[in-house]
Symmetry: C2
Subunit: 333 residues, 2 copies
Amino acid sequence: MRIAIDAMGGDHAPQATVEGALLAAAEWPETTIVLVGDNARIEPLLQGRKPANVEIVHASEVIEAEDEPVKAVRRKKDASMVVAGRMLKERAVDGMISAGNTGALMTTGLLVVGRMKGIERPALAPMLPSMTEGGVLALDLGANMDATPEQLVQYAIMGSIYRSKVHGIQQPKVGLLNVGTEAMKGNELTKAAYPLLEQAPVHFIGNVESRDVLNKPCDVLVCDGFAGNIMLKSLEGAASVIFSALKTEFTRTWYTKIAAAVVKKGLGNFRKKMDYNEHGAAPLLGVDGLMLKSHGSSSALAVKNAVRQARIAVQSDLIGGIRAEISNGSERS
Amino acid sequence: MRIAIDAMGGDHAPQATVEGALLAAAEWPETTIVLVGDNARIEPLLQGRKPANVEIVHASEVIEAEDEPVKAVRRKKDASMVVAGRMLKERAVDGMISAGNTGALMTTGLLVVGRMKGIERPALAPMLPSMTEGGVLALDLGANMDATPEQLVQYAIMGSIYRSKVHGIQQPKVGLLNVGTEAMKGNELTKAAYPLLEQAPVHFIGNVESRDVLNKPCDVLVCDGFAGNIMLKSLEGAASVIFSALKTEFTRTWYTKIAAAVVKKGLGNFRKKMDYNEHGAAPLLGVDGLMLKSHGSSSALAVKNAVRQARIAVQSDLIGGIRAEISNGSERS
């Protein structure tokens, strides 16, 4: 198996990507890690440690975090991300991982790797945090702002296959993000999507309210990119405001500081649980190849974990599974 | 001035509404409070204390929390909420307050009181909590799930006039709920609304992300009812999960319990700040009369505070102000 890593993508690249590649290469000797990026910057980081299952493919350009996605992907034809995308397209690798510019990665998915036949829109599918084990795979979280009811159904199918193949969940429960749990609640989009989801080849459990999302009401949550983003950023915003207020409260006097010390570890663990960046890389589902978006601030360990995720996805033939289900659907309709 | 209170609306009605009416009548002797509801249940609660500025208007029916709004308003013609709405429509009162079924109140606004001329859709406009003083008036939060760009502009105008007339804010800052701050971010709705808001007679400051809402980035936040509801319930959901995790952490051992006792008051105050139910009644803007939705769990004090809000709105001629601005707009276009 061959996994490409966009060595130049992410806040701590190429240091973290190279270190992560080495960790992965050591753990999985039968997997070849292809580091795509600036040779002159990657080589010194290896410090002579180049295992047989690590390759470097030189790419002279880098897409920066602040680059306008479509323009960057079109113009920087030799950017590490674009080169990795091209290798995926040409089947020179079985999957690719990038911690770089999210918009550019989605554009690379569309313009370089290409959509899977039958898929209208690819979707970005991160795991949301949850208080209990497991979490919720939410899609779409930002690849497309608007969605049609039919696209929501495709998201449900792709998300279900991902949860089942990669996370081993049999019959993943699919929820529709909505403003109430009754069937006829919502806007025109969700009202039209509801009956289609009932008939789709997924285990649809109905509407899910955003206030319940952290309690893991389902395994897969479908929504349009706009609503999903509003939800995710509201959850983050509330958590950030509350934790900073806690900090203020705890540092007010010497005895509140002692109180803080007593509960510090428990709260730290909890905060980590709330941080969706801790919950792995997000697949870009619906492109014709395995693409994983690792968080921008990914450490070497996060990069290694993304390789683990990619390995499971390849071994379980995630892409083949989605392709088969989607073409089945096209035949059905 | 005459303010009608739906005496039968809310979890603690008619006890809380009657007590609240008495508190308001005592504080503002020149304001007549009209209690609309079941005489046989209201009279005993007065226990002979019936000031000259409290009137009872009998209504034989009650709309319950679980009633289907449109059906209930259409069928229960003698419901307290509907009778109060009719009095408002006939100008027998200057405003009405209800802590009852939100959907039914919005329906009463549309079907009994009626839309203001020139307004496409009325909007429910609660205050969101914020960490600093003041808060954010958000609309629409649930009167209409879908909105057009033009409706968002009307929300912006109505919200601005409310903040200026009722809260005394000169040039209230108006933000558009969105997934990023750049002008071209968002879905089709927000992209179309942005340039219209730039030209509207409001102080438009651009897009606002949901993660920043609790930090009071603007005075008025406009959004469609679906996105607004997703945001509000996500904020609530995150707060509720975090506070219950805190509780678990704090009750784990005897020494964490002591730690909890030390910070209890500070956290309690903070939690109160986060609770949007503490932030007053929500106006239903765009109906042809002053309607305030008090929270379902309103206490007598909350009812009295809603009367205070209604008095300011009537004294500042909120409704006349909106009417004038909207008909100006119709002339402009």
